[in-house]
């Protein structure tokens, strides 16, 4: 078994078909075909998806907290073949099933996803704004479309597969705190204590 910081080769494996996983990081890759005539509309829907506060205000601690609670590392949408096809990629901490269930429990935002999916041939027919559409009540239709269109990555390499978004958040706070220490006029004297030797090695950078 790998210890922290190492990648266990056995850990790069498909996990009950939930997606390829390397270390603690899972990935999801999906391919869709765009409905004829919806090329512009899907591009617009993707633009709107990224223009929400949750994907813009990434310095806002409240936004960071939510995304850390979800455990998402990144999301990417690629339109190709003259906008007739869509590749949708994401990577996250944990396995796919708990990740997506927990995500929708943190933010009941699956309609946001449906706004993109409605322009693809793979999404169920129906007006997603119709109050009787099942999507108004449950994330199941979106999960079903995701699950039906995912393709296992043949390879997946994150540089730090065992570092989670929560670790990154903590490390960022620690880095900022250390910068504050270094800015203090008494820093050199304080860091010269033997107990702080490991930190002193970073103090000159």
């Amino acid at each position: 078994m790998a210890t922290k910081g190492e990648v266990d080769p056995a850990a790069t494996a498909t996990n009950d078909n939930m997606g390829t996983k390397t270390g603690k990081r899972g990935e999801l890759t999906m391919f869709y075909t765009v409905k004829p005539g919806h090329e512009k509309a899907i591009r617009e829907a993707i633009r709107a998806f990224y223009e929400t506060p949750f994907r813009q205000n990434f310095e806002d601690p409240r936004v960071v907290d939510v995304n850390v609670k979800i455990g998402v590392h990144d999301v990417r949408h690629v339109l190709f073949d003259n906008d007739t096809r869509l590749c949708w990629l994401t990577s996250f901490d944990s396995d796919w099933d708990p990740y997506i269930d927990d995500t929708f429990a943190v933010r009941d935002n699956w309609v946001e996803y449906a706004k993109i999916l409605q322009h693809t041939n793979e999404a169920p027919e129906g007006d997603i704004t119709d109050p009787n559409n099942p999507i108004q009540k449950s994330s199941r239709p979106v999960k079903d479309v995701f699950n039906g269109n995912r393709i296992l990555a043949a390879g997946f390499f994150p540089t730090f597969p065992n570092v989670t978004v929560r670790d990154i958040q903590r490390d960022e706070k620690l880095r900022k705190a250390f910068e504050q220490v270094l800015d203090h006029p008494g820093a050199e004297e304080a860091l010269s204590h033997p107990a702080l030797q490991p930190l002193l090695e970073f103090a000159s950078e």
Binding site: M1, T3, K4, D16, K24, D65, V68, K69, I70, G71, D93, S94, D95, D97, P98, D101, D102, F104, A105, V106, K137, S138, S139, R140, N162, T164, V165, R166, D167, Q169, R170
Partner: protein, 444 residues
């Protein structure tokens, strides 16, 4: 019929799945192998009258409380049609031994070291009998024996006698069985007044769950409805090793107790660190109205009282800031002790087998039991502490550690050995009473 209403069909749900047995009690787990499907169905027919519905919670004056559940191999042995078998989720079909890597059952806990026949394809029908005392238990067991003895094609292959002390203390000395969730529509109150009841679908098939969907129900509906999954694990406790570890890392008996409390999240009396962080309070520990009435976020986000890595905060992070949503990973959990107690103060291992029969009840083996075992017990990424494992039940190997937050500098314990070793276990399906009749009447 799947129902969005919160009304649980208590008359069809097995009582043992929903209601805890009042302590003290004596109990026995037995496992039967079914070599002849007709004989297996006959056993179920005879057993059904002994099973109590959830409308009838276990009372002290009741003679016994009996529950029955089948493994995937057991359902096969009964001749359940293939389409139905295929409707069960992968973890259940594979069985617990095949899931060892997910569960941290490696090294001493690996299935090749399990007690026979646990983990084998012979484990078919599990029966639990719990009674207020040994005499009444024996009487019930004798009657239960008549349902399967002298029946060709049925073999009793395993038995474990267990008990719950009046204090509910498990072998490490901590009061157990404190925390349990409220299930919507069941009338059973949860132990934490600050936790709203969980949707019934988190525990029983045919009802909406916390994601506002119906959990995947085994088919046909008559088989799945009102059923639930039971995880059974026989967990050996290395009591002497636990005491030695506390002794080696503390200089007084008080400090040992404090260290143990930090690892568990509660004092031995059951009093939670969240409510009495510096000293034990046995009165609080014994008070079911208060001993689980707390959350973490408001006044202990850093874990200065209850360490984020301690056992109870891992098993149920409540409202603590973690990656994920605790309500999607809750479970009904039961623990019953087996084996002789190691006398107080003894720190040398006497070689005796002692431990806990762990029981999980829930509708999702993957999202609940396996997730909690893998992500919360044997990892710490969810709260930002890397690869640390649960200091009490984690599959530690002597290389791991445990952080006790403390101002101004946290304390870090190192060299955590393994205190709990899996001796075996299995995934079972506890059908509703109608489903058991359906199984007993199969004519395949």
């Amino acid at each position: 019929m799947q129902t969005a209403s919160t009304g649980l069909e208590l008359s069809d749900i097995q009582s043992g799945a929903l209601h805890p047995r009042p302590s003290p009690y004596a109990g026995t787990y037995i496992v039967l192998r079914i070599d002849d499907r007709r004989a297996g169905r006959e056993v179920l027919r005879r057993l059904i009258p002994a099973l109590t519905p959830a409308t009838d919670p276990a009372r002290v004056d009741q003679e016994a409380w009996v529950a029955a559940a089948l493994s995937f191999q057991g359902l096969k042995a009964l001749g359940v049609p293939q389409a139905s078998l295929d409707s069960f989720p992968l973890p259940f079909r594979e069985g617990m031994a095949a899931r060892a890597a997910h569960l941290g059952d490696v090294g001493d806990s690996a299935p090749e070291n399990w007690e026979e026949p646990l983990g084998s394809a012979d484990v078919h029908l599990g029966i639990t009998a719990l009674s207020p005392d040994k005499t009444r238990l024996e009487a019930v067991l004798e009657r239960a024996q008549k349902t399967y003895e002298q029946m060709p094609g049925i073999s009793l292959i395993w038995r474990l006698d267990c008990f719950a002390l009046a204090t509910d203390a498990e072998h490490f000395g901590f009061k157990d069985g404190i925390s349990h969730p409220a299930v919507e529509g069941s009338g059973v109150a949860g132990s934490n007044p600050e936790e709203p009841p969980l949707k019934a679908g988190e525990f029983f098939f045919g009802y909406l769950d916390e994601t506002n969907e119906f959990p995947p129900m085994p088919q046909p509906e008559i088989l799945g409805h009102n059923g639930t999954y039971i995880v059974f694990r026989k967990l050996h406790q290395r009591v002497a090793a636990f005491r030695q570890y506390l002794k080696a890392n503390a200089s007084t008996a008080e400090e040992e107790a404090f260290l143990g409390a930090k690892m568990m999240g509660r004092w031995q009396s059951g009093a939670p660190l969240a409510l009495c962080p510096t000293h034990d309070d046995p009165e609080l520990g014994a008070d079911p109205k208060r001993n689980n009435a707390f959350m973490f976020a408001a006044d202990d986000s850093k874990g200065l009282k209850t360490p984020p890595g301690c056992h109870i905060r891992r098993a149920n992070p409540r409202d603590a800031q973690i990656t994920g949503v605790p309500r999607l990973h809750r479970m009904i959990r039961r623990g019953t002790s087996y084996g002789p107690l190691l006398p107080d103060g003894v720190v040398q291992d006497d070689g005796a087998e002692r431990g806990l029969a762990f029981v999980f009840v829930g509708s999702r083996l993957d999202r609940q039991f396996e997730f909690v075992q893998r992500e919360w017990m044997n990892d710490s990424s969810f709260f930002g502490a890397g690869g640390d494992k649960d200091p009490i039940v984690g599959d530690n190997d002597g290389s791991g550690g445990f952080t006790i937050p403390k101002a101004p500098i946290r304390r870090r314990l190192a060299g955590l050995p393994q205190f709990v070793v899996t001796r075996g276990g299995e995934y079972f399906f506890a059908p509703g009473l109608r489903a058991l009749r359906w199984l007993s009447e199969l004519d395949t």
